[in-house]
């Protein structure tokens, strides 16, 4: 694959197997700053494994991942952890908020882990919660809010550190279509205005319609539809 100029995150010829099962079989990927790319494909096609490799959570067996000019596959565990904390944000389908903390404490958590004071972290967190229209939930705990509200809190937490890439794995999978679309609208609006790239794994076309383009993963191989059509 020729790497498109100006790419922020790229992957080439990624291969990954779990025992006898091949998850990735030569997958390719690239994303620009501020771009929203949907990763689509049937269940078990390898799309979540691709996301985990791109985010430095899982190491591929072979292939190359480059983030902002740095080779991710050559980094140590500690370096990849630091990269995830400082440059990436994450939104998953379930159970990502800490139940013992209030919503504002949850959103502020990544800043606290990076050394910000409580006051400073919660002030920034509240600004993001306002943007995601959940600031009135600041004193509630995750168990006291609806699924859609909880997911907006999770999006605020993913964006609070001003990451350059947000990885969202089926972020609306547990929501009804009205709430799911509202989450997508708020997530993509906020990301685009902050020039944050979003890697969006989804099997739902209505969710993928919030992206700028899509790649399709099938049998561990990816296909960039923009370069096909």
């Amino acid at each position: 694959m020729t790497i498109p100029a100006g790419s922020l995150l790229t992957a080439q010829d990624l291969r990954k197997a779990y025992g006898p099962t091949t998850a990735l079989d030569g997958a390719e990927f690239s994303i620009h700053p501020g771009e929203v790319v949907a990763v689509m494909g049937p269940s078990g096609s390898g799309k979540s494994t691709l996301l985990h490799c791109l985010a430095g959570i899982v190491m591929p067996d072979s292939g190359s991942i480059t983030y902002n000019g740095r080779e991710v596959t050559a980094m140590s565990d500690a370096e990849r952890s630091a990269l995830r904390r400082s440059e990436f944000g994450f939104v998953f389908q379930f159970g990502q908020l800490v139940p013992e903390l209030t919503c504002v404490e949850n959103v502020a958590l990544p800043l606290r882990l990076s050394g910000s004071s409580r006051k400073e972290a919660e002030r920034t967190a509240l600004a993001w919660m306002e943007r995601l229209e959940v600031d009135e939930l600041r004193k509630k705990r995750p168990g006291e809010v609806s699924g859609g509200q909880g997911q907006r809190v999770a999006v605020a937490r993913a964006l609070v550190t001003n990451p350059r890439v947000v990885f969202a794995d089926e972020p609306t999978g547990a929501l009804d279509s009205f709430n799911g679309e509202r989450v997508m609208e708020l997530l993509t609006d906020a990301a685009r205005s902050a020039n944050t790239a979003v890697v969006l794994v989804t099997h739902e076309a209505r969710v993928a319609a919030y992206s700028d383009r899509e790649i399709v993963v099938r049998d561990g191989r990816s296909r960039d539809m923009e370069r096909v059509v």
Partner: protein, 174 residues
């Protein structure tokens, strides 16, 4: 959409000129396809002939005469009947896409390519509708949602067909 019934329905709130009818139609229903004046006047002539509307008055001005139309009792009954009749669901059996997929398999072309390209085209349309929905009012949102759900149904068919291509190949080339 039945333009005749829609114009009749718009007349239920009171008599209107042809121009007012066109304006009301375009505002409420003609987002993508505004009515031509010719359509309005030919439709009103037909409704007049069938006794579903009557001329309520004629204004003479500097230009052509302007007829004001009013709905009749027969017209009100006709609108009520139309509203109460369910629309026939379109099953789209033997769609062009199905034909293309089968032909690709029969001629040993890559049917997966056809499905991938079509998915991308559908998503392109869905992106345009999603963007319009985000920027539009509630009426726009509902119109776009209707189109989006139909496109989504097509996409589900595409995914299911992609997952069954091997079996379909066996069946059609047997």
């Amino acid at each position: 959409m039945s333009i005749g019934h829609t114009l009749l329905g718009l007349l239920e709130s009171g008599p209107r000129h042809g121009y007012d009818l066109k304006r009301a139609f375009d505002e409420k229903f003609g987002h993508d396809r505004p009515l031509h004046y010719g359509q309005v006047y030919s439709t009103m002539s037909r409704l007049l002939k069938h006794g579903l509307v009557e001329v309520d008055g004629i204004e003479a001005g500097g230009g052509p005469e302007r007829k004001r139309y009013a709905i009749t009792e027969a017209g009100i009954t006709d609108v009520g009947r139309w509203l109460a009749t369910p629309e026939k669901p379109e099953p789209y059996l033997q769609s062009t896409l199905y034909t293309k997929v089968v032909l690709a398999l029969l001629t040993h072309r890559d049917a997966g390519d056809i499905l991938d390209t079509q998915r991308s085209e559908h998503l392109r349309s869905m992106r345009i509708l999603t963007d319009r929905k985000r920027k539009g009012d509630l009426a726009d949102q509902l119109i776009c949602d209707h189109a989006l759900f139909h496109l989504e149904a097509d996409l589900r068919w595409l995914e299911l067909t992609a997952a069954r291509l091997d079996k379909l190949r066996e069946a059609v080339t047997r």
